[in-house]
Amino acid sequence: MNTDLLISKIIDEGAKKPLARPHIQAAYWLSGALIYIFGLCAYNGFRPDLYEKLSTPLYGLELFFLGLMSVSTALAAFCLARPDVHQKPWIKVIPFVLFMPWAMIAYFNSSGHIDFESLYSSLCASKFDCPWHIAIFSIPPGACLFYIIRKAAPIQCCWAGTMATWSVASLAYIAMRIAEQNDNLAHLIIWHALPVMLMCMVGMVLGKISLKWR
C-alpha cells in the first residue's frame, strides 16, 4: 500500500483518547485489588492475634514494606506498558531495593530456625492450602492488571509481566500474613515466599506470551 494512502486512512480513524497517567492507573487498580483481597480476607476471617501482632513494630514494618513493594511494582508495570519506559530505567530497580529490607525484617519477625530439617519437615507438612489461597487472592486482580497492560503498548513484555505478578503476589502475601496465624520461618519460606517467586517467574513467561505488543 502507498504510504500516503495509509496516512490518509490513519487520519480518517483519528487519534485515540490518551490513557490515564501510570500513577493514576496504579492507584485505581490498587484500590480495586485491595477491596477484593481484603474483602475476601474479611469473609474468611483474620488471624486471631492480629491486634497483638499489629502492635509489634516488626510485623507492621513487614506489612509496610510488602505494601511498598506492591505499590512500586504496580507503578513499574503501568510504566512498562508504555513504549518510552527506557526514559525511566530506575523504575524496575525500586522493587529489588525494597525486597532486601523486607527479607531482613521478615526473617527477624518470624519464629523458628532455618535449617535443612525444619525446611524438610515443613515441606512434608504439605500445606498446599497456602499457595492455593495465594493463587485465589492473586488471579482475579492479576488478570485485570494483565488486561489493562495489554491494552497499552508494552515493549518490555517480560518485565511488565514480572512486575504485574510481583505486585499482585505481594498483595496476596500481605493477605496471607493477616489471615494465617503461622510465623514459622520454614513454613513462610516453603509455602509463601517460594510460591510467590514461582508466580513471578510464571508471570514473566505469561508476559512474554500474552503481553507481547504486536
Binding site: T3, I7, R82, Q87
Partner: protein, 173 residues
Amino acid sequence: MQKSQQGDKSAYGQLFYEITPILRSFISKKINRQEDVEDIVQEILISVHKAGHTYDTDRPFKAWMFAIARYRLNDHLRNVYKKREYGQDVNFDDVSYDLPNKENVTERYENQEYLSSLLEHLPEKQQKIVVMMKIEGYTAKETAAKLNMTESAVKVSAHRAYKALSLIAEKDM
C-alpha cells in the same frame, strides 16, 4: 500530538506527514533494501497510530516515537533472521550494483590527489593536524598529545587550516 488527542484530525495528519520522512531516513540508515524500508516505515506509522493513547504529552514525542521505531525495526530484523532470508539466493548482479564502478574509483582517486595538492599549500604543522584529525580520525585531544601541543592550540590551528584550505579551493575554481 496533543492537538490530535483532542480530536484535531488535521493536526493528526500533519504530524504523520512530518514524521514519515524522519522515520524513512532513520530506517534507511539501518536497512539497505528500499522496499523493506517502506514496509517498516508503514509498520511504524501503524504502530504510532495504535499506541497513540500511550503518549504522555508532558514527555518528549520523539523519544516515544523512536522507541516504537526501534521496536518495529528489531521485530523486522528478528523475522528476517528467523526466516534466514539473509544469505539465501545471493544475486551477484545486486552485489556488483553496490560495488563502486570504475568511474567512481578514478573520481575518488582524483579527489584524493586534489586534496593532497591543497594540503601542500599549508605549513607542515597544520598539514599534520588536518591529516591526523580528518583522515586518520584522531580527536583534538589525541592530536594534541601526539604533537606535544595543547588541545586548544590544536583546535585553533585546525580552524585556521580549514579556512586556508577553503580559500585556496575557492581560488582554484
